[in-house]
Subunit: 365 residues, 2 copies
């Protein structure tokens, strides 16, 4: 039986509460005897800043580099709005992504039938929705240099960010998207702004070539990022896998998530390149939602996205696809029973808190 190294980084806001529920699922896996875990825990984000004056300590980074998977809660909140840019809570997450080489961010947008009515979109538009946004996560305007604010001679300031992509960065994320499409609907939509951005031109060329050379069986479509956002709102079921750069992915995946009406339900996986020797890839799993400072500490946060993120870890890091399926089914079952945290509550269902939701999922397992 394999032993895996897990690093838990609950972060800020509701992070710690929802991470507690994940621990129950970890216990369940261990009891089944399909895997064992050594578990470490550390600070990231605002709480790390409060403790060490930085968004992640070198010690925590070392643990992350040594881990088979990082399970990440959420970072940030109004409390840290005034802290210097370099040590703001988000810097911890961005450094993890960059230093772990997590270039492929997988964000499924799935509409649970039981929740279709909590979407702001019409039921027929979102019912049964199952799309996957594949977002490039270590390049683009997030990390390109120069990235600075300078003071000009006339006293004005000028801010610069740099959108940068190379052929190989685009190639590897395109391959991830095509490979995943083959396990799903066999369709990739590549979103960029080639009509305005040179990085969009290169993106388009590289994705086209990889598709033609190595994935002729996968249907490839190109869509301008602004149009993609519109099409997601208009008729999202036209998409299967959408691949895009870091910044467009940030926005498009949030739009896709919101379509489902259940942001508190959606997990994500961030993966590195497979190790040539072992085939293992570095990985970080996090819910799509944020820290929800307004409800933090109240015991009402929805733990499902966090638990489902651990489900993605089972599937992508630990080869436990069967257990991941069981977990997904347990979540669906609990929803079918009518249990709801306040964020997804509708009349006629049963309102429960974070702990009760976690317990119910465990019971369904």
């Amino acid at each position: 039986m394999a032993t895996h190294k897990l690093l838990l980084l609950p972060g800020d806001g509701i992070g710690p509460e929802i991470m507690t529920e994940v621990k129950k699922v970890i216990g369940w896996i261990e009891k089944r005897g399909v895997a064992a875990f050594t578990i470490e825990e550390d600070l990231v984000g605002g709480c790390a800043y409060d403790a060490h004056g930085r968004a992640i300590s070198e010690g925590a980074m070392k643990k992350a580099l040594a881990a088979d998977a990082v399970i990440f809660g959420a970072v940030g909140g109004p409390k840290w709005d005034g802290v210097p840019y370099d040590v703001r809570p988000e810097a911890g997450l961005l450094r993890l992504r960059k230093d772990l080489g997590l270039f492929a961010n997988l964000r499924p947008a799935i509409c649970y039938p039981a929740l279709a009515d909590s979407s702001s979109l019409k039921r027929e538009v979102v019912e049964g929705l199952d799309i996957l946004i594949v977002r490039e996560l270590t390049g683009g305007v997030y990390f390109g240099e120069p990235k600075e604010i300078v003071t000009l001679e006339n006293g004005e300031k000028r801010a610069v960010d740099t959108q940068l992509y190379t052929t190989s960065e685009i190639e590897r994320i395109a391959r991830v998207a095509f490979d995943l499409a083959r396990t799903r609907g066999n369709k990739v939509a590549s979103a960029e702004k080639r009509n305005v951005m040179k990085s969009g031109v290169l993106w388009n060329q590289v994705v086209t070539r990889i598709g033609r050379e190595d994935y002729p069986d996968v249907a490839l479509e190109h869509v301008l990022a602004d149009n993609c956002a519109m099409q997601l709102v208009r008729w999202p079921k036209q998409f299967d896998v959408v691949v895009c750069d870091n910044l467009f992915g940030d926005i498009l995946s949030d739009v896709a998530a919101m379509l489902t009406g259940s942001l508190g339900m959606l997990p994500s996986a961030s993966l590195g390149a497979p190790d040539p020797a072992t085939g293992q890839r570095r990985a970080l799993y996090e819910p799509v939602h944020g820290t929800a400072p307004d409800i933090a500490g109240k015991g009402v946060a929805n733990p499902i996205a966090m638990i489902a993120s651990f489900g993605m870890a089972l599937r992508y890091s630990f080869g436990l696809g069967g257990e991941a399926d069981l977990l997904d089914r347990a979540i669906a079952a609990v929803l079918d029973e009518g249990l709801r945290t306040p964020d997804i509550y509708t009349e006629g269902t049963v309102k429960v808190g974070t702990v009760a939701m976690g317990d119910a999922i465990l019971a369904a397992l």
Copy 2:
């Protein structure tokens, strides 16, 4: 009676058909005797490329610089997908925006009650929606240098785009947003990614200062651009005016437009700075939709967005707010009568073509 210089640039695809309907409204204004127009017409986009090998000729640019308002259709289409980057159809529009100094792009997203059901969102989410996206239009990643693709020593390519904003660029667009908010719901939401982009940090600082110093009566809120996209989908009525940079504005205004379910209905205005002597501002008016190559030439395109764009010209360039109101009411009346072009057709309404729709609006006037 004032005489105004108009330049009509119908462009590609459905552009010419819908521009023909605008001419009817121009005729109506002249008949009312409230203004006279001298009208020129020229090529832009793919058709200009076909004629001169460039997306806009120097002659057309001269006319645009001399015009009191440019009425613009739409540019682009698959026919020109392979043309060189510098002369692609969109380059004509981008040059007009830049050389005319049209830094303020106003994109209202209004949901006509008669059309609420054609939205993919639930009626209660969009009925009565009236928000205004104010997009910076001559800066940011659209125009920043370097913007290039270079070949590296290892044979790979590297693409660069540069996001650039100065204090004064942000100041002037912020003022436009605050001024417009005062004529509406008195609320501004400023969208950026200050947690990732230095331009977002500067944007946030400048908008905050302008608000505090000169618009303390206007409610100002800051929202991360990805969250803004989500909130637009979740509950768009929380917004009044949204101000953002060129690229975020491109996407957020398209999302906002799609919420209304009637992309073929939405106009936009792009304005320059007021001339210090005359107070006149350069202006270009264009529908939010594109060239719709699939239906071009078939006489079924919806001319309403194009006509409503001319309505914005009446309001913002010619001081004819009363006539603009009449035009808006005529459009609403025709919709209430049940006339629909195919893009907004639903059962129980009457399907009409481009010309019949234009005639009906004229009759309602």
